[in-house]
Symmetry: C3
Subunit: 341 residues, 3 copies
């Protein structure tokens, strides 16, 4: 139980209401009871139906409610409270005696490494990192401070990862890119993938997501990149700061994606495509070539969302339009026959 | 070798033929030889070409063949025989001394746990469960009776799983949902995912499939749900009894799917969509909003299969229709010119 | 540092230039400096901008440059040099004492097995194989010579794999196919998957890719098949020699794919489809039925790339065409009204 006063301090807000009210948890606005706190980003809610003990709202909110905390960003404040009421619990406290850590590896302060994990030669693991069970980190990998690597992740040789990165279970970082050439008789020959993967700070990599190493240079993810589960990042891809990519999307080799791009699920980007900053990509979109304008795109291949919607609305009714063409043809035919008389 | 009499008893059928015939195995109808048994759900097969020693057919079948076993559901009977002739073999018999099981975990009777597996604090594993090698089960997970968890599966903290559930290798249950908000400058802030995943009885989860935990409440899969490989289930999704989802499909956050829905592969469902019971979804369909009617849907975005097929048949020939528009324009032009004279 | 003379011998080429030039590495043509070698498959490059110490070109190249090595296949030669300058490093040298190898397993010469790996009863692992850490190989698996199995791969019981196969991290070979039947009340019943997976020589399987075992017979991949990451191969699929499938593609049950087929990413193939040799499939294509002709296909469902492009160009402008229909209707209406007068 935490008082509203303490909560207000934690989220750097301004309280209107009872500072001594005891809050036991956070919850969604339609589920929260009188001991719980929730939030609203909109003023249009029906407060009659709300049972929460207190609400976090934005600075300029007009909502009337017994206990309100005003903050700059209610949803971010709610995120802070989720962590406060449900604090992260470390997987284990130290280096498990049944983990393997190479003698030449350099392990920072306050690092925990779970059972059945493997840390290869010359790896550098920064302070406060938490490596869970069954993680396999090949030789010469560098991981920054305060990273969280969930169970059964595999990180291949030489990969570099920044600070505050979270890698969900089963992700594979640095597998070989999909590079082949074919001899005259069609036999495929593997192009060895000797490049690397470099990931910036504050990124999150989803469960079973794959980020391939490049042939020679680097596959590079800048800071604050968020990849959902089961995403494929091909070799030599570059992704700008703050970009988010939803599940089952595939980014082919040598693609360049700008900053703060938002991609829906199952998007596909063809090799060597370029996408400028702040593009929003609808789910299932197929992208090739160069997306030069900010805005929302959709379709296979992509076009502006608005024109795609118009085309699609017609597509759904194509039969009716074809019927109209047939009617026109019938009428013209009639005129032609009349003329022939 | 098993006699036809014994087989008939096993599958609760009625035999017309030689009860003493010895059967060595099961096979598909076009491959089975005289020592093998097969099945047919249809009466239209050419029995001249069949070499099987016996056939399982439905109760009211008109097929004529030397040895027939009549049952209510021939394919389900065939499934029983597959298990009879190729019995499941346990991965190991007990708890491997090189598995880690927390002292506070409660392990049922006749449970086997494979080498290099990890069972966290306060986990409860029901009777007759089989946990293979390299499985990582975080703290406070509850698993019912008679479950089969293949190698390298990861189950995160607090997840609840019913009885008779099968989880194929590499699946990840309970990873963080993909939840972020953005500050005014666009910087993404992680929304901690403190909810849970609850899976009912008799479900099967495919290889490398991911089911995310929700932000606060539960991602919930009811009984008899079958997920293929590489499926993504987002946070706070609810799926009804008996629903099956094919490979590489992605279900976004807070989606509600009814009972006995059948989804093809690579289907995408946008967040907060609702799908009613018994809908059939063609492969690659894109769904948003509310699918209220039973029936088959297809397309991106979805429409009824029949109208989608009509639209698509026209789409494939759009060039010809455009040519017809051009012809019409030419003719009208001719009339207009004649009028002008 | 290696002399141009030695490099020329390694790639079986013909040198025009300084045999004593010392080369330190390989690089892409726009990045290579004077100590590095690169390659060009085209004669149209601007050699003024190239800084590389030497270039590998094709036998009949007209490029003029100080140091040239002529070979039959420049990109394949480049692949050989990548391996020369960045030689493969074994994960470990022997069988790790903390790996489990069943007494009945037959392990070839010069095999290494990484820590926390498991090799089941009666497995046969060929000479010079390299099994990394955390790999789980169930009983009765056969692996040929010189295979490379990366960390956390799972290979289920009975799977057969040829020589020189590479399996990237997290791949799952031999999980149960997605086979269910439904009782009269809709309850799904699992069809036990008692068949196998057989993989030929010189194949490569991508990270987190899944290849399912069949119900009775075999899922079969011929030689030189290259699967990218996160690919799904359903039960009983057959794939011909030299075929390559890009990431996030899904091949449903009982599909037959010919030789040297090239598939882009996120392609879906419906069950029982057949694809003939040398078909090229654009990304995101949906295939059903029988693709009988060589050539390039695209679309959902597929058509020839050229006709799909025409249809799609019209689709993007459907609004304009509908406007033309409306104009025609207006004009016809005018005539009709004039006639009525």
């Amino acid at each position: 139980m935490i008082s509203l006063k303490e909560i207000t301090q934690t989220i750097d807000g301004k309280l209107k209401g009872d500072p001594d009210l005891r809050i036991t948890s956070v919850n969604s606005i339609d589920k929260a009871n009188k001991d719980e706190i929730s939030f609203s980003v909109e003023d249009t809610i029906d407060t009659e139906k709300v049972k929460a003990g207190a609400l976090i709202v934005s600075k300029d909110s007009k909502i009337r409610y017994p206990n309100l905390i005003y903050v700059a960003h209610p949803y971010a404040a709610f995120a802070r409270l989720l962590e406060l009421f449900f604090p992260h619990r470390r997987f284990n406290e130290t280096i498990d005696p049944n983990a393997y850590v190479a003698d030449s590896a350099v392990i920072g302060k306050n690092v925990s490494i779970g059972i059945f994990s493997y840390i290869g030669d010359r790896c550098v693991i920064g302070d406060a990192c938490e490596i869970h069970a069954g993680v396999k980190i090949y030789h010469d990998v560098k991981i920054g401070k305060n990273c969280l690597v969930y169970s059964n992740v595999v990180i291949r040789e030489g990969v570099e990862i920044g600070d505050n990165v979270i890698i969900q279970p089963g992700a594979v970082i640095g597998a070989d890119g999909f590079g082949f050439t074919r001899l005259a008789d069609g036999t495929p020959v593997k192009i060895p993938q000797k490049g690397n993967v470099v990931i910036g700070n504050n990124c999150e990599i989803g469960a079973n997501t794959c980020i391939d190493r490049s042939t020679i240079e680097e596959t590079r993810l800048n800071d604050y990149i968020k990849l959902d589960n089961l995403v494929q990042i091909g070799h030599n891809v570059r992704i700008g700061k703050g970009t988010a990519i939803a599940a089952l999307s595939g980014i082919s080799g040598s693609v360049e994606i700008g900053e703060n791009v938002i991609m829906g699920g199952q998007v596909g980007v063809a090799d060597h495509a370029k996408i400028t900053d702040e593009v929003m990509v609808a789910a299932k979109t197929g992208i090739h070539g160069h997306v030069k304008k900010k805005g929302i795109i959709a379709g296979i291949p992509y076009q502006d969302l608005s024109s795609w919607k118009k085309s699609y609305a017609i597509f759904k009714n194509l039969e009716k339009y074809i019927e109209r063409i047939k009617q026109l043809e019938k009428k013209i035919k009639k005129y032609e026959m009349e003329e022939d008389k």
